[in-house]
Symmetry: C2
Subunit: 193 residues, 2 copies
């Protein structure tokens, strides 16, 4: 099943490489987050990577979008991590940080990104004429399977599950307008506190 | 089918982003290769990315391995390319160059890597107990489907097909020993000349 295949490859090809200690001299995600706080004199809300899983599969280029999510600003990224993988020397893994404005004085800093396999999947579907009737019908199952499998796999890895927060959400409101991602993140942050 | 799904996502999520001109200020693969030649005063054998697709799915960390492929040395990489994708600000894509020693004086420079999805797929299979019997049986079909689909998709994209060279090969000899990847690459280079 395609959704669970994407979840396994996202975990084994990415999350498992960046979150836990890997035994190399490279720092893990939590260490890079603590370094970020020291260097930029800010406090990250949690030592977690927030992964956005929008039901519509629409993953824009950035979380920053003045029309949809006016409270979100791009911040500088965590320091990149380099690892040689499958013949790619010093492949670079870099995670982004965003600022979410609560009111005119208070800001919340979080490390967040969309689940990239969903963006790629949507690109594949829109290119492949002959599959798309099949995919359009099963799109909702595929995203749901992606989310459930990733949740299950993360739970099986104690060294990862506490550092990754999956947000599976309906990204369109009843009028078909995209919801504010800043609010989606803030709702989850309130729950985690 | 899993093999063709991996091929589509490898093309739409990676090859299509790095090979053709993207309309941003970022250089495409051919331009980065020409810059590399100027900066390092060497000549790349072809303006192509060689993608290794080993039948056994075994994709070691680097092509360099003194026991298996004594003729291969790591060279410096092409200049990295940055693109903001699905919320990851300035995600980095970097391609590697290897030196293959022909005889004591002559060297051949090529940009090459293993097909990353196969490495990830092998990691998924070795982790997932309950699937492995199924995958072990179908492993050969999956790699073959990956290769055939990627070949087909590349042919459909004129702006990519001339800059990417797929090498699908049996990586073990009749005694089960891994073959020299330097020889595999040189055989293909001789054919392309
Ligand atoms: N050689 C190579 N260099 C790259 O920079 C690269 N980027 C992607 N790919 C391969 O293309 C395909 C599509 O990528 P996608 O981004 O949708 O999924 C990726 C993505 O969701 C996540 N991931 C991997 N590297 C990163 C990264 N640096 N930043 C964010 N996400 C990443 O984990 C998935 C699996 O990655 P790989 O298993 O390494 O192979 C991928 C995949 O087969 C690459 N292959």
């Amino acid at each position: 099943d395609y959704g669970s295949g994407m979840a396994h490859s996202f975990f084994h090809g990415y999350l498992r490489l960046i979150i836990p200690k890997t035994g190399t001299s490279e720092k893990n995600l939590e260490e890079l987050m603590k370094d970020y706080e020291d260097e930029h004199h800010v406090k990250l809300e949690f030592y977690k990577l927030f992964i956005l899983i929008p039901k519509s599969l629409y993953c824009p280029t950035s979380l920053k979008n003045d029309d949809i999510s006016p409270s979100i600003e791009e911040s500088s990224s965590l320091r990149p991590k380099e690892m040689t993988v499958a013949g790619v020397q010093n492949r670079v893994y870099k995670n982004s940080v965003y600022k979410i404005r609560l009111d005119k004085d208070k800001k919340v800093y979080v490390s967040a990104e969309y689940a990239t396999p969903l963006k790629t999947f949507k690109d594949v579907v829109s290119y492949n004429g002959e599959h798309s009737k099949h995919y359009k019908k099963h799109k909702n199952d595929i995203v749901l399977q992606f989310y459930l499998t990733l949740q299950k796999v993360l739970k099986e890895h104690e060294n990862c599950t506490n550092f990754c927060e999956l947000i599976f959400y309906d990204d369109k409101d009843e009028n078909g307008k995209y919801k504010d991602v800043g609010q989606i993140l803030l709702q989850r942050i309130k729950k985690l506190r």
